[in-house]
């Protein structure tokens, strides 16, 4: 256990956190705006990966696969929100359950369309190499993941802080009724945020597919991790999601490396404690 060990493990944890940020930030925004606990979020992640695979098989282009997959799933999310979730009105429990129903449907559909096989998304060769910094090997793909998450994070932050739309979203998160009162079209905001959440999850699926693989069951494996991010960071807070993702990524990585026997416990127990002390998460507002 020398310095190298700590550097590499930290780097690995941060890069894993970068992936989790993509999944978690969408989930967090959806919760913040609509108070919906979206249990089909893992399905968006998985479906994003599958759509990307189809694009890669037909066109051979990995670069093209990223936007196509993310946009396709965003449309899917949008349709789900409009047709099914919106008509239920404000009824969190039924909405939660509805998203589970969809998760089951998506699971079966994915099985029918893409078979039950395990696939890998192969990024371009240039990204599969490693760079050596001071004797430490850093896989380029992980650097790429960190870069992507940073870029997305900055764009999201700018959009939330500097645009009218962002202001409207923030107002809705704080108090939806009040926002409606001052003329914010919260229905449109909900639709937009739900689609954005699906977009981000699918993006995560394409990017994560390269090192997690794409296979049936991945949806419900990634879901609790995404929840950990949201819960630790605080629901509806973008900055919280970033910090939550970083913490979960590091906790997961160091837990596995240092305390393998209780590695998942070290991840979820702090999460439960945080919730018990502050039900809205570290950075969430009541």
């Amino acid at each position: 256990m020398n310095w190298n060990f700590w550097i590499i493990q930290t780097f690995n944890g941060v890069s894993y956190g970068a992936l989790l940020f993509l999944v978690g930030s969408g989930l967090s925004l959806i919760f913040g705006v609509m108070r919906i606990v979206n249990l089909s979020h893992g399905s968006y992640f998985l479906l994003g990966g599958y759509v990307a695979l189809t694009v890669i098989w037909t066109t051979g282009s990995w670069l093209l696969a990223i936007p196509v997959a993310a946009l396709t799933i965003a449309l899917l999310g949008l349709a789900m929100e409009r047709v099914f979730l919106r008509p239920l009105g404000f009824d969190p429990l039924r909405q939660v359950l509805l998203t589970v129903g969809f998760a089951f449907l998506f699971q079966q559909a994915a099985l029918d369309i893409w078979t039950g096989n395990n696939f890998d998304i192969n990024p371009p060769d240039a990204l599969t190499k490693s760079i050596v910094v001071g004797g430490v090997y850093l896989p380029l793909y992980r650097v790429f993941m960190i870069g992507t998450a940073l870029a997305i994070g900055v764009v999201l932050w700018l959009a939330m802080e500097k645009t009218r739309m962002g202001a409207a979203v923030r107002a809705t998160v704080d108090d939806a009724q009040m926002a409606r009162g001052v003329g914010v079209d919260t229905s449109r905001i909900s639709m937009f945020i739900f689609a954005l959440g699906a977009f981000l999850a699918a993006l995560g699926g394409v990017i994560g597919g390269a090192f997690l693989g794409i296979y049936p069951g991945l949806d419900f494996e990634i879901l609790p991790l995404a929840f950990a991010v949201v819960i630790i960071g605080g629901m509806g807070s973008l900055g919280g999601a970033a910090i939550g993702a970083l913490l979960v990524g590091l906790a997961d990585n160091f837990g596995k490396a240092l305390f393998p026997e209780i590695s998942y416990f070290t991840l979820y127990a702090p999460m439960a404690l945080i919730l018990a002390v502050k039900p809205t998460g570290l950075f969430g507002r009541e």
Binding site: F84, L105, I262, Y268, L275, A276
Partner: protein, 331 residues
Amino acid sequence: MHSESLKILLVVGALAAIAVVVPNTNSFLILLATRALAFAILVMSVDILLGYTGLPSLGQAAYLGVGAYMTAILATKYQFGLGYDFWLVVVFGILGGAALAAVFGLLAIRASGVYFLMITLALGQCVWGLAYRWNSLTGGDNGINLRERPKFGLDLSNEVTFFYVVFACFAVSLLLMYTLVRSPFGRSLAGIRERELRMKILGYNTWLHKYIAFIIAGAFGGLSGVLWAHTAGIVSPENVVLTTSVDALLMAVLGGAGTLIGGVIGSFIVFGLREYLSTIVPWWQYVLGIVYILTILYLPTGLMGIPERIRQRRASAQRRNDAKKLAPAAS
């Protein structure tokens, strides 16, 4: 309370029918029915929280896990619980579930609504994490195989005998839970579900009420786990994974929250679809997903709500008819 006694009669009749018919079917169906009954106890425990106290738990599999792992570890490491001491294991399972719930409840009860959902999810994942990775105790991914079922005068390795044992445990659980929800304590739980603030003002310690309900639900979860371990013959992290908790919650809602017996119906339907239909057609999961979605969209009160809806519809039709009849007389 005429309709109430009619309902009870119906339920008792249906259960008696199950007890008579199932053992005479083929042994695969007996196995499925045994599983559905063992799991139904867990679903009813979810209903105590969801339907009667208004707390949607997404981590109930944890208690099933405690009971199941306790049974498996005692049986394989200490050869305990394979004779008359099986009933001791049942007691341990109940206590274990209750004890875990007593700890988790301290953390979870403060929250409500979706926050309660989230924290129970997190707590459930803690238990899953231990089951999955605490290899020296739980066998990790391998799970624990129970090579034999208990023998004590009765030989539980006989599927029919075992079915009756599970059935008896189930019936007793149902009776106990029914008594509980009809008791003054159960009524104050319902009061908390409807208007917590008012109950507080009336001087009820709502936290304590919810906490006790949570522990009771955990106890029944533990019982369900003990039975489940012997039903399945193997205990693995799969039993405590998030989807198992989701299943339990969905079954309760599918049958109708706040009815107890609805959870049993939900359990039978889902096990039927998942383990029977799946052996016949490859697209069973579409059926399951669509059943859930339709129920949630169109039957917010679950399948048990159907008679009520029909009655309401009839009553309103009746009112309209009466109004029509009355109208000419008035003029």
